[in-house]
Amino acid sequence: MADALVTAEGLGKTYGVTNPTRALDGVSFEIDDAEFVSIIGRSGSGKSTLLNLVGLLDTPTDGSLRLDGHDAASLDKDGRSHLRNGLLGFVFQFHYLLPEFSVMENLTMPARIAGKPADKSEGAFVEELVEMLGLEGLSKKGANDLSGGQKQRVAIGRALMNRPRIVLADEPTGNLDTENTEAVYELFRQFNQQWGTTFIIVTHDQAIAQRTDRIIEIRDGRLVQDVRNTYGKPVAMLGEGLPGR
């Protein structure tokens, strides 16, 4: 049986030494290719910690993590950087665009980091991406000259630039109005369906969570629920812990 794309076994994270705080405790799950997953939980429950561990931005204090067959523990810093650049894409709540660079430069930054000549051989792909994101005519604008929704669309494009197998999104709609929230969801779903990209979305937004294929709930650092969405059936049937209950 082939490895899952993401395999977490007993994943844990403790911050601090003198006053240790257990942020994540023994979390195990598997996520396959092309899944569309949300991670939910209250503030401070450990869901962002989990996302940071899966995104190789942080290291677990215990347990193991495998990404596309790579054992995270065996990766050195360059190895982690390499996977973050190629295998993973990130969308953050605060978009984290680089204000010194234009929209196009922000969009193609992961390709530049990978050493690809983003302006040439990747040109057709970039054009397609710009079109799908609705960013036509904004390429030369500065990152700070965009609206919140436009910035988040650029951030989504940047996350997809190197055609990663996994996109990790941490509260991607946290700062957006309803219209832009819907637009972001539609984009995620579109890329998931068209390109088979796996999406793992940390969210407080129950409307978003209820439209993902699988919902993982974290409470006090523990995984308390991991259910498949049975669209059309009442959400309550999926178990306790979903937002709004």
């Binding site: 650049n85 990130f90 660079f101 530049r112 050493g115």
Partner: protein
Amino acid sequence: MLSLRIAVRFLRTSPVQSGLIIAGIAVGIAVQIFVGSLITSLQANLLNQTIGSASHVTIVAIKDGDPVTYSDLVKKTVRSSSLVRTVVPVRTVTAVFTKNTQNVPLSVTGGDLTNLDTIYKLTARTQRGRASLGNGEVMVGKDFADKYAVSPGDRISLNLPRQAPVNLRVSGVFDLGSSAANARSAFTGSGFAQRALGISSDKYSAIQVQMTDPFESKAVVADWQGHLKVQGIKVNDWQVENKDLLSALASQGSSSYMIQVFVLVAVALGIASTLAISAVQKTRQIGILKALGLSDSAAGSIFLWQATIMGVVGVVGGIALGLLLTTGFTLGTAKSGSGFPIVVQPSFIAISAGIGLTVALLSSVIPTRKTTRLDPIEVIQNG
């Protein structure tokens, strides 16, 4: 190269900050070039004035007043050294010039004009009349000529020890660049001094030697003393006779180095602090870039590139500013007539440029290390 592109963009988006660092480097390098070249040129000028027209190594008899024989051994010894620029055997006699009731002692040096020119540059320094030391001719200094109203073509009478007064015709008036020398020195042909001293044709008052590098005289003197002590002669070194001057020059050199070092330290601290601030200001961007997969080494090299770019631009600007300052100084003092030209050695510019770049690169060590070590999670978690 992505790190370079990011470095350039960071610099361009903070033009005031970048401009201030570049200006700091430029001023530092300009001060170094100006002060360094000024002191070096000042020292060269002082040395030239002091010993440019004087003997560096002088071979004389051990007993004062005795002549020295310019023997084959002496000739062979002095000519064997590649450090010797010129050898001028001279005969010097003290004469007294009398005008009205005043008796003026004159040190009359007799020798061949062409030979004397290699040390005293009499022909080039002749202000009035012409440079000539023919039979019965004498050249006198400017201050002497002015004070006693002597002009080329005039005849002057000189009293020599135990001899009848001698009448000589003034052929020219020279300026050796020193009032004392101009007031007390005179030059005649070799035969006059030989007759006045009553010595044979192979004997001289002194064998004067100039070196290609005056500071090599110590080694030469030590060598020659070993060879020539049996001949009843001794070898004098200008460095021994001018210890105070050398001490002053050394102190001047040290103070120049101190000024340059402190200026560069100030520049280094300025660059380091501004780059450190820049590194803090760009922490968020570096963290995001690392989260996107930029490696530690690539992130670290951003500030190394920044330092290199600012160092190169600052050094080039500093060289231009330094040359402008030295040219301005030279022109300014030339107008007042009291100055000397500042010579900027290309090698010194190269050294200054090298030091400037090194200082800039060293100043980037702290921000580079800070950036290399930055963990992207610090930025992502703190928003």
